[in-house]
């Protein structure tokens, strides 16, 4: 009897040490996205939000680089948040919306349409940046299942050690620094600030399209997104942000416009309609792919006004909770901006 108890205790201890070690190893080898490839932190930072949002922006780098929620609040009192990530695919945006709706219902959802060109999952690394940051739930499971590329398996999302186990050969100081410590925020409600100026020197030359239309798979996901918004009383706004690279084809533009017309949605092509006054000589940080902070503020100033006028969004300035939240955020925002300049 005594021996059996000793055996049970011994095995339990061994298992506890084993799983403890696996947990520690998982934390060590999983990418931290704290100092390098910080885009990988954007999706998870949403869960640290303290106040609700009237506007939710979804999409790829063209949203997290090009819109500044700080400006939207400062100028119009519009509360917003970006749930953007690198090469965010349309079904990922859909599931991020579903995930957001679990905790809040924004009045307006803005979706950047560039990723509609992708009918299939593209890159495992980008998948990870979007999906690893999502909280577990039906939405995350759906997003993973829709996004897996060949060679990926669901289990590795549940146990990241199965995916990142070989990173032990490339561990850096960053991995040890944030082994058990959470990195501070890298974004401003999903906005990733870039301060440098690298003017666009060339006009992008489009390659001929094999199929002039946007893939039906993507459009089906967009339809699902429109339906979800409708069911929740949310206004869906489609945008093509002013980034000129990669090239946005007129054929694709026509498809999105037809979709918007058919569903009674607003579609704003900001390359075509440069009412914000974006100047690709001064407002871009990488030759037209993304806007720098000057460009993002310029664009947000114009877009905030459009949103407020069109959807009557409430000015939350003066409300204590929002002022406190945005006050702290703005201080950090300005500090980084100064540092960058």
């Amino acid at each position: 009897m005594k021996r059996t108890v000793r055996t049970i205790i011994g095995i339990t201890l061994a298992l506890a040490v084993f799983f403890g070690a696996l947990y520690a190893l998982t934390r060590l080898v999983a990418p931290k996205y704290a100092e390098t490839a910080v885009e990988g932190r954007l999706v998870r930072e949403y869960y640290d939000e303290q106040t609700p949002h009237d506007v939710l922006l979804l999409g790829d780098c063209e949203v997290f680089s090009n819109f500044s929620p700080v400006t939207l609040y400062r100028e119009y009192g519009v509360t917003s948040c970006i749930r953007g990530s690198a090469q965010q695919l349309v079904w990922q945006s859909y599931y991020l919306l579903e995930d957001t709706l679990k905790t809040e219902t924004p009045k307006v959802v803005v979706y950047n349409v560039l990723a509609l060109k992708y009918a299939k999952p593209q890159s495992e690394a980008y998948n990870r940046m979007t999906l690893d940051g999502m909280r577990w739930g039906k939405a995350k499971i759906g997003a993973i299942q829709a996004s897996m590329t060949d060679g990926e398996d669901f289990l590795s999302y549940v146990f990241p050690l199965l995916r990142f186990h070989d990173r032990w050969t490339e561990l850096t100081k960053e991995d040890f620094r944030y082994w058990f410590k959470n990195a501070g925020p890298v974004s401003y409600k999903g906005y990733l600030m870039r301060t440098e100026v690298r003017p666009a020197t060339e006009t992008p030359i489009p390659k001929p399209l094999e199929d002039p239309h946007l893939p039906e798979t993507s459009m089906a996901w967009l339809r699902k997104m429109a339906k979800l918004c409708e069911q929740n009383g949310i206004e869906l706004v489609l945008i093509k942000s002013p980034s000129i690279e990669p090239y946005w084809y007129p054929e694709w533009d026509a498809d999105v416009r037809a979709f918007a017309d058919a569903h009674g949605l607003r579609y704003e092509n900001m390359i075509e309609n440069n009412a914000a006054g974006i100047d690709m000589q001064t407002d871009t940080c990488d030759m037209g792919q993304h806007l720098n902070v000057t460009g993002a503020e310029k664009l947000s100033r114009w877009f905030g006004k459009e949103l407020q006028d069109a959807y009557g969004l409430k000015d939350h300035r003066g409300e204590a909770a929002f002022d406190a939240d945005y006050g702290a955020l703005t201080a950090r925002y300005e500090a980084e901006k100064q540092e960058g300049n």
Binding site: L15, E124, D153, S156, L161, R163, H165
Partner: protein, 525 residues
Amino acid sequence: MQFTSWAFLLFLAVLLPVYYLVPKRMQWIVLLLFDALFVCAAGTLGAVFMLVTIGTVYGAARWIDALFFRQRSRIAAMKQTHTKEERKRERLRFEAKRRRVLIGCLVVNVGILFALKYGAAIGRLSATLFHTRAFGSELMLTMGISFYTFSTVGYLIDVYRETIPAEKNPFRLALFVSFFPLLVQGPICRFLDLKNDLFTPHAFSDERFLKGSLRIAWGYWKKLIVADRLLVAVKALCARPDVYRGGVVLLEMLLYAACLYADFTGGIDITIGIGEWLGIGIPENFRRPYFSKGIAEYWRRWHITLGEWFRTYVYYPLSVSKPMRALSTKLRRLGTGVSRRVPVYLATMLVWALTGAWHGSNPTFLVWGLLNGAVILLSEECKPLYARFHRRFPRLTKSAFYRGFTVIRTVLLLSSLRLLDCYSTVGDAFSAFGSMFTTWNWNLVLFGGIQSLGLKWTDYLVAGAGVLLMFAVSMLQRKGPVRERILRRGPVIGVCAILLLVGTVLVFGRYGFGFDAGQFIYNRF
């Protein structure tokens, strides 16, 4: 379903509780159902071929059994009424009938294996010779067919020889043929060895479970940490015989030796471990082969079941067959040495040719088999010379140094022959081997060359440590099974050993995204 896939682990995780929770008399049925699932998951074509094998072998074995029964009844009835001569004639008539049934069934089953293995090669040859379109495809070779065909052929011959009675229940025979752990890369089992364990009820035993788990964990360790890692470098080296020459070929030989050992023994460890989980004893296929002091000894310790199969069902029957005896008699006038040797040599070379052919349709395998046979026969011929050397230098030949020398010599010899397995043409293999003596490029091996083979220095470090551990375990095995020594220290130590192996596989194993899901090398045979 590969052993290294998550699907397979899930398959085991479902099988094990179901196997032990159902009434014990149903265990073999559960196993058969899971076998069917495993076979179907590998492809319906494979399942069809397997059904053909099961059906034909079952029918032929029962027919042969019935012929024995009828023969005995008939002879017994003839005892009073017929002469001895007439009874003998009747017996021979029945024997001939049985032989026809046996040969007919062998033709069908070996024919399927031959067609699948050589179909593509014959198609290519006919296209070259007759300028027709090539037919057949390498992909047609279905999982485990080489292994289960040999097992069933063995079973049929055993029934024919009356070593065992024919199995009456076709589903039981189906279980023997389709037993899933054996389908990936053997071992080639005899019905006699498995029958009791397969159909006897088993109660769950935690001791057996721990033992099996330790073996399985060790198998995965060897496969995922050592074999799959080294295979990357081996593949890179084999792909460019024009570039990697000289000293690099020696490196390739050694890497492939370690890789193949870790891969094949790792797979067999997993197979035997699963057998232990289910209470089914699967015969060992290796006995520390790289500790052999000669090539004949090596072949008694490497892929033991294949060697035994060829000895039992090809070599011995062939050696004592009528044509061989006739040949021996004819050669008697050339001396007893010649008349004794030639049939043995012929049988040996034929067995080795078949062993080579079993490995694949590429001529490199045939040459590999024949060279193995030739080296074995040469060693046999040199035995008196060795004996004289041993008598002349007794202290030297008993020393550890000499033993070490013979072991290294055997490993190098085998590794040289294995170059034929690495390259796609015999010419490339010989040219690579020759270049070791003509191209002096050790700087390429030692400085930077190995970095270009798709592995990082950390990979070499891990693989090196893995090889050292495998070597250490083999050394310890000389004093008895290591697993039993670990488990004798109590279940907690056993669990710790398993967790340590699993933990290191999880961290250092080559699996998951970005790595090729590595099938076992022997699975392609």
